[in-house]
Symmetry: C2
Subunit: 338 residues, 2 copies
């Protein structure tokens, strides 16, 4: 799956693979308005922290076109752009890329569109770089034998463009002949692991097994996993990591088992303005994502979409620029961003 297939700018509109329809249907959304984009993001048709950043970048270009078409004034355009930035709260990439591309508005439409396209290209390139760095780290940490790697949610090209983040690390291990197989959490409630990660691994010809989310810690405790690698929606300045709900339990299990727990994410996911995990907003989604269809009618749910893994449980964070061990002190001297 090449980046243009996941997300692309086409004739002033956004073409996006509908990730709610996979794996049984490959459907491309044709998005021409801010309303349509916000709806696609809220419904997780467009998802994954780096892809959200890229979609936000293209969204600014889309809003600029719509402003011209509909005669929006400056405040209205600003308000529409803010709606895109606020479409989901946890992944910092969305807000960050929206803000960056919006900074080009005074230079005109062409500059905005070029800046947005550059975000996509950079995301794809960064994913490959961080994938190789992460794979090198795991080979050093775990020894040379083919590795059994556990991952959560979906962090491949669908989420990140290019090779992905955690799934990119897995792909790099596979291409180096250093991968045995992958354990994939199904990732309730929306099953991004079962639907998307299994689909991507199948396309790459990588051996994998699907498990229920609750089974991950047990497999780790039984010595069936050599390393855990996950993506991130936001990494705070102290190294705390927000990622898809269910991540924290894997970190607890990996810590107890003494195996690496690697977080793979582009630099755009690191938010030095958020001091720690407690300051990261955690999205609370619709209860029906959990209750329907199994629970009795009227059952209430509590649907946090992400959790926080404290830095001390994170063995390392890898980006396209650096590898920071122990998750701690991402901004400490000697580890400043280059």
């Amino acid at each position: 799956m090449n980046p243009p297939d996941v997300l692309a700018w086409r004739d002033g509109r956004i073409a996006a693979l509908d990730q709610t329809a996979l794996p049984h249907q490959v459907r491309v959304l044709d998005i021409g308005t801010v309303d349509e984009l916000v709806e696609a993001i809220a419904a997780l048709a467009i998802r994954g922290a780096p892809v959200l950043g890229a979609a936000g970048a293209l969204g600014v270009a889309l809003a600029v076109r719509q402003a011209s078409r509909c005669g929006w004034d400056g405040p209205r355009l600003d308000a529409e752009i803010k709606r895109i930035a606020d479409a989901r709260p946890t992944a910092v990439n969305l807000r960050r890329e929206v803000t960056a591309v919006a900074g080009h508005i005074p230079q005109g439409r062409a500059a905005v569109e070029a800046a947005a396209q550059a975000v996509l290209e950079f995301a794809a390139e960064a994913s490959v770089a961080l994938s190789h760095r992460g794979a090198g780290y795991l080979r050093d940490a775990c020894g040379s034998g083919p590795l059994r790697v556990h991952t959560h949610c979906n962090t491949g090209a669908l989420a990140c463009l290019g090779w992905g983040s955690a799934l990119g690390v897995i792909r790099a291990l596979h291409e180096a002949g250093a991968l045995d197989s992958v354990i994939v959490d199904e990732t309730r409630p929306l099953l991004q692991g079962a639907r998307l990660t299994c689909w991507e691994l199948g396309q790459l010809g990588i051996s994998h097994r699907l498990i229920c989310d609750g089974a991950g810690p047990f497999l780790i405790s039984q010595g069936l996993v050599d390393a855990v690698v996950v993506g991130a929606d936001r990494v705070a300045a102290n190294g705390d990591v927000a990622n898809k709900i269910g991540t924290y339990s894997l970190a607890l299990a990996a810590h107890r088992a003494g195996i690496p727990f690697l977080v793979a994410a582009p630099e755009s996911t690191i938010d030095e303005s958020t001091p720690d995990g407690a300051a990261i907003p955690i999205e609370l989604r619709a209860e029906e994502e959990i209750t329907v269809p199994a629970a009795p009618a009227g059952t209430r749910a509590l649907n946090y979409a992400f959790d926080i893994t404290p830095a001390e449980l994170v063995t390392a964070v890898v980006t396209e620029k650096r590898l920071t061990r122990n998750g701690l002190g991402l901004t400490r001297p000697g580890h400043a961003r280059s």
Copy 2:
């Protein structure tokens, strides 16, 4: 829901609530042969460690009737009874109660049926006793404020007759005015939490919220839970606990958060002949329970139905006879079974 509704002996046959149909349908199975019983157990129409024990007890009575009707000789009857005992491997209750009731066969059919009925009555009584003891422990351990209790899978009357085990402890807290609310894991893949526990809590008028399995550890880490209470399928002599897959992650999170992790189960669940968790057979169920319908066709899964929580993560084990703190040394001097 009274015990006869969950499981009963009626005119030489077994009447069992079909737990795969709940909560949307209340359907009673009429079981007249060993084949039908084994099938109902394998399909989880009859489930929950204590109810499996009771069903095994009734199954021996059923087999004795069938032997007489079909002219089975002794070895054939023994083989059929063994099929019942082996219908599921992890819960020790099934094998234990089958063996106990089969010991009455030399005394004739009436003795067998009386012994089987006694197993049901004892299970119901034991559940109420252990429920009150467990509630008392949690009130001592957590202070007097209304408690927010987290539970996993289904451990109510449906699983245990009477009040249940972990859900019985919750009911006892509720009746004592010491319960705030319950967090219920949905318990993939078969959703016993979403389907059965929410249904039972609704009938009892107990406030509850359903969450995805992966969210439990996060909620615990955020201070939203005062205690975790779960049932067990087998407790080894050293205090290691086999329970529904997903239990171990809650124990890890409770341990880190410093809140009680209570295991509630009848004495029949404690297996002193199994030295530790490593010796407990873990049932591996059909891959399709996980893969269908979300994953791409052909996806392989790894479907362990239970996990092992090491004794050191278990704050206490409560039964109808005793409370053993720290989970360790269930058979050590001073904690011998009475």
